[in-house]
Amino acid sequence: MFKKILVPVDGSSNSWKALDTAKGLASKFGGELIVLHVVQTYSSANLYLSGGSDISLTSENRQLSHIGSRVLETARDRMSDFHGRVRFIMEVGHASDKVVDVAREEEVDSIVIGSRGLRGVKEFLLGSVSSEVSQHSPVPVLIVKEPDPG
């Protein structure tokens, strides 16, 4: 339990909260951490919608990967006081699919993820990465959230 934890981060404040929680748990249980960032690239379907060219698509995607490395860089900074084993991974693809894939490949025993906290109609229409992950994950999922501002 909490010996090998997967933490997907997207750079949002909730994901940093998840990282802090995972760090606490890993320290407590002497576990290993895998920090994952999934780059969601634009596909040609988006291209038709925006009316752009292939070239702009490639440069947009390159920029997204660049942002991804920055997110992992920030994660690395935040983990500087962690003494256990930690790895940083960047993947390209659909966010919740990749999270579940990596969880299986790495045989983690838990996932700690931030909740975006969508509600009501929005939640119904869009779903959220955290709830998709919690439905499809092979292992327990800890959903961390920011307290309501109100």
Binding site: M1, F124, S134, Q135, P140, V141, L142, V144, K145, P147
Partner: protein, 142 residues
């Protein structure tokens, strides 16, 4: 770090796995466990038929309520800091969040499925609703 863990259960196998997960976690943090069962009123599908053996005698063990199942399971683990509560409410997810807030739980641990995949897809499962609306972190056990 984790002083109070709320464990909503429905008596299913997966909810018992969630409870055992919470007990393991509780051992590491010496936390207080509150096991909760929310019954939906007028839900006839939850009433189990009387099970009889081949001589026509009623088999008692088949009629355990979710909380009785949980108490029996918890006794096996020998964990002491555990209490059991029962509520009746039309919206289990809302009640779970309400209780979590009232007792100031640090964590909710629950199973991911009660209704099945299809109903979960259309209605949103209890665990999804709880994980979105609860004030505290939620662990979904598989």
């Amino acid at each position: 770090m984790i002083n109070k863990i709320l464990v909503p259960i429905d008596g299913s196998e997966i909810s018992m796995r969630a409870m055992n997960f919470a007990i393991e976690l509780g051992r590491s943090f010496n936390s207080e466990l509150i096991v909760l069962n929310v019954d939906i009123p007028y839900d006839l599908s939850r009433i189990k038929p009387v099970v009889k053996d081949k001589d026509g005698k009623v088999v008692e063990s088949a009629q355990l309520t979710p909380l009785e199942i949980a108490e029996r399971e918890a006794k096996k683990s020998g964990y002491e800091r555990i209490s059991f509560k029962k509520y009746v409410d039309i919206d289990p997810a809302e009640k779970i969040c309400e209780v979590a807030e009232k007792i100031d739980a640090d964590l909710i641990v629950m199973g991911n499925r009660g209704m099945g995949v299809l109903a979960g897809f259309f209605l949103g499962s209890v665990s999804t609703k709880v994980s979105q609306s609860a004030h505290c972190p939620v662990t979904i056990v598989k």
